[in-house]
Symmetry: C2
Subunit: 311 residues, 2 copies
């Protein structure tokens, strides 16, 4: 089975980590959101790509889920002493990634090629692709501050502003990164990881598309990032509420509805299963919370079994 997984940050990284533990290298392509990418201190930073890669490489901080394990903070502390901005916590090891990526981007290399080389250097065997080599910026439309670049909303303002919509600036001109359409075309199934639908999966879909043709032919399965009405991490539930939608696994299923074949929801939401089935979706109820490495692998196995048994 050839699988394409669409992923954002921590939640997506955990599931693709589980999938990568099971599937051989050639059977898994991970397409990662780059709408959160931003330039900070002259560095081109790709939070989701780095989280996915650090996780797959075993370099991720096991406590936070993002950033590097055994990280130090000397550069940012030295900068803060000089009055510099320290709201985006750049670890020293992480800085090395941003410096080298930025150097190569400035030299004209595409992000997909740089990512491929980084994966090789980090010992990642599965294919990790940015959704696009072209700039696409997720803009959060807020009540209090108008349009905010994603990291400004997410890190600097701690997701406090009230959301009323999203834009993916640049998406109309952007093309999917080389390898993305081919991987989707060749896939036996596509998995939407338990990432934020609004700002992690939607930007990927906006540029990489799931053409109605392949959507019809290829099973597409989503794992709900909303569990018991809450997001495990991040502002997904808050976003649903502020957009006038009660956050729930059902809301996520409705969000993706036309693209999906199947939907994976947590056992805590088992009472929503029938409503989701009424959307003409096949369902699987399982434990979707990934606290341990074993959890990641177990959920990945469940998802693969679900795909195999889809009608």
């Amino acid at each position: 089975m050839k699988l394409v997984a669409l992923a954002g940050g921590v939640g997506g990284a955990k599931l693709v980590h589980g999938l990568a533990k099971i599937l051989p290298a050639e059977a898994l392509t991970i397409v990662v959101n780059t709408g959160d990418d931003f330039e900070h201190l002259g560095l081109y930073i790709c939070p989701d790509l780095d989280t996915v890669c650090y996780t797959l490489a075993g370099l991720a901080n096991p406590v936070t889920g993002w950033g590097r394990v055994d990280e130090s903070w000397q550069a940012i502390e030295s900068m803060a002493q000089l009055g510099g901005p320290s709201w985006f916590r750049l670890g020293d090891k992480d800085l090395g990634t941003h410096l080298e990526r930025t150097r190569r981007l400035r030299a004209g290399e595409p992000l997909s090629k740089i990512t491929r080389d980084f994966c090789h250097a980090w010992g990642i065997r599965h294919t990790v692709l940015p959704m696009s080599d072209d700039p696409i910026a997720t803009i959060v439309e807020t009540v209090e501050h108008g349009e905010l670049p994603f990291q400004e909303y997410f890190v600097h303002l701690r997701c406090e502003p009230t959301v009323r919509g999203f834009q993916f600036a640049g998406v109309e001109k952007a093309r999917p990164a080389p390898g993305v359409p081919e991987a989707i075309e060749a896939a036996d199934a596509v998995v939407f990881c338990p990432s934020n639908p609004w700002v992690s999966i939607d930007p990927i879909l906006a540029v990489a598309g799931l053409k109605s043709g392949s959507g019809a032919a290829t099973p597409v399965v989503a794992v709900s990032p909303i569990i018991g009405g809450k997001a495990v991490k991040g502002p997904a539930a808050k976003m649903y509420t502020e957009l006038g939608i009660q956050p729930s696994a059902l809301a996520v299923a409705e969000h993706y509805q036309n693209l999906l074949t199947g939907f994976v929801l947590d056992q805590i939401d088992a009472d929503l299963e029938e409503s989701i089935q009424n959307l003409n979706l096949q369902t699987m109820v399982t434990d979707t919370i990934m606290k341990t490495l074993a959890d990641r692998r177990r959920l990945a196995e469940d998802v693969l079994n679900f795909i195999t048994n889809l009608n």
Copy 2:
């Protein structure tokens, strides 16, 4: 007494540190070479300014004389793992300086203002000025590689190429930084620190000038960076040899001859004193090697006494 000291890297930093231990804040202005400055990994790096400031602030690595004490190297090692260039050893704390300086330069602030704020943050009370806010690049003309940017020659090629001359690119358009002409004008004496004449002091003189008028009115004293025919650190002696001049305190005195009132040489070179006096210079022979903090202060006292007793 109001003093202006012209300084390059480690040797200059040691003497100005000694002077700063003796002179009150308003009595010492340090004008620092920026000809070695370069952009690396998108960061604007000022090696001599940083060495002088780190030394004055007590933040310098006491073993190397440059870089930061208690430094770590996580970013550059992380970058090297990705195949990035690691020939310029950027420490993590040091990176914080470069990131913040670069951020402010890109925002349009002049280097002199940024340096003033950094000095304030680091608790440096004396005035440290870059020689210019305009870009001036020391170019080393070499036999083997033609024209090399200074850091390429100095760090990357380890001073191995044979030197046949120097250029200070941009100097004809550059102006001295605000405060430099005023400090020289107001100075009771100017000191050339024991820095490389060719690539540390000459670039400062090329942009900041010592106008013949003030040169005539204000005592100017140089401390020889060549001791026993050798440089304490760096390529100064090798440069003299490759340019066909036997490296010696006498050669340094001849180099600066028309600008100087007095010359300070090491006791190991006492046999050169008469030849230097024959250049119509007043001389002082003392121990000019600065191994300890006490050495820095003692040499600074000697230099101040020498200036006070000049005819």
